[in-house]
Symmetry: C2
């Protein structure tokens, strides 16, 4: 009899965090089914990177779901307002960023839940992280636990007593820890994309909050970031 590893759904944006999360899911013994939500974000290049990452990690399936959240408005990632540049850690701290997309993680987890139920999977991996983005309300442990209650009560498998677990293994890690973890697991970091405002050539700007946090993380981890930037 052949043993088949259980399947986990991984929310995969194509960024650093979700790529390391997917590598952790594999390390934990799961076959991974990746879900990428193309939500009308500026950085369409992320979707292409997500496909490359899913392939590199041997995902058994990869669904890209189009969801145009621009119909609601309300965020720099989906509207035409400026992405802040060159902000220090202090300038970023303690506020909800303009790049916040209303209820994004609730929506993404809901879609992952639908995918999981369809596949008969009981585990969702999710690259949320509280430290660098303390301003995002939907990246907190209590949010994730509340979502698990919704998943238990709102699905067929939940009503049959099979709870869905949402794992956010990066939740308490620093960006440097995430880089180290990715390096240790040989995650395809060279394929990842983190920039909120890439150029027409797809190059990361190096100056938005996400680029700055990423570069600082690689620097502190003592790892060379394999991704090229528009600035030095």
């Amino acid at each position: 009899m052949t043993h088949i590893d259980p399947t986990a759904v991984v929310l995969l944006s194509g960024g650093l965090d979700s790529t390391v999360t997917a590598a952790i899911a594999k390390q934990d013994g799961y076959r991974i089914a990746c879900l990428t939500i193309a939500y009308g974000q500026r950085h369409q290049v992320e979707v292409e990177r997500a496909k490359a990452v899913a392939t590199a990690l041997g995902a058994i399936r990869h669904v890209v779901l189009d969801l145009d959240l621009r119909v609601f408005g309300g965020s720099a990632l989906t509207d035409d307002v400026s992405v802040p540049k060159d902000r220090t850690h202090e300038e970023r701290a303690g506020e909800i960023p303009v790049t916040y997309v209303p209820a994004r993680n609730t929506i993404f987890l809901s879609l992952a839940l639908a995918y999981a139920e369809t596949l008969g999977a009981y585990t969702i991996y999710f690259g949320a992280n509280v430290l660098d983005y303390s301003g995002y309300p939907d990246c907190r442990p209590e949010f994730i636990r509340a979502f698990e209650s919704v998943a238990r009560l709102g699905t067929q498998m939940g009503s049959e007593g099979r709870a869905v677990e949402v794992r956010a293994p990066l939740l308490m890690l620093s960006k440097a820890d995430i880089v180290r973890r990715g390096q240790d697991l040989r995650a395809p970091l060279r394929l990842t994309h983190s920039c909120y405002d890439p150029g027409v050539d797809g190059l990361a700007c190096g100056r938005c909050d996400s680029c700055r946090i990423r570069r600082e993380g690689f620097r502190l981890a003592g790892v060379v970031d394999p991704v090229p930037y528009a600035i030095l």
Copy 2:
């Protein structure tokens, strides 16, 4: 100073229940912003009816969001499996219907939450009903309360102490009660569409679970169903 009524988001499918729910929201003193999710269901005619209902009820906004849940599969409403016909109440009872869409209400409420947060609205109206569809796990009061916790923890407005309330005023009503309520409120029942399997002419089949439940509801309420059917 002019008083402006607060805004509520209404999940509007174009069916009987959501139309009566929208009429209740207006009766409760809200301006209504309607959200229709076009999720790749067979009955595209529902989306057209939803537009007509929103107009008839004087909605201040109506967003139709495309979301192709067929990428996941798993339901008669989105896949190419047969919709059951001519089932009695007993045959329908006690099982999760084949028309169940995985995590549908979780997804729909998440999207309504994003819309509410964008509008600065604190109330979501939702036409869930436990009695006729006891098999749908995501139509239960405890599910709705759990979702409110997610909404509180997962949004900017929640973290600012403004909780979102999910109102499901039909939750405990029979279909006959819903028909009566709609009649009392002069809801545009003639524009609603409930059929899971309409003909190419858009006519309701009269034989699927949804048609049977609806027609029985009108009969018990002593109200003539203003919608034509393909059968008598």
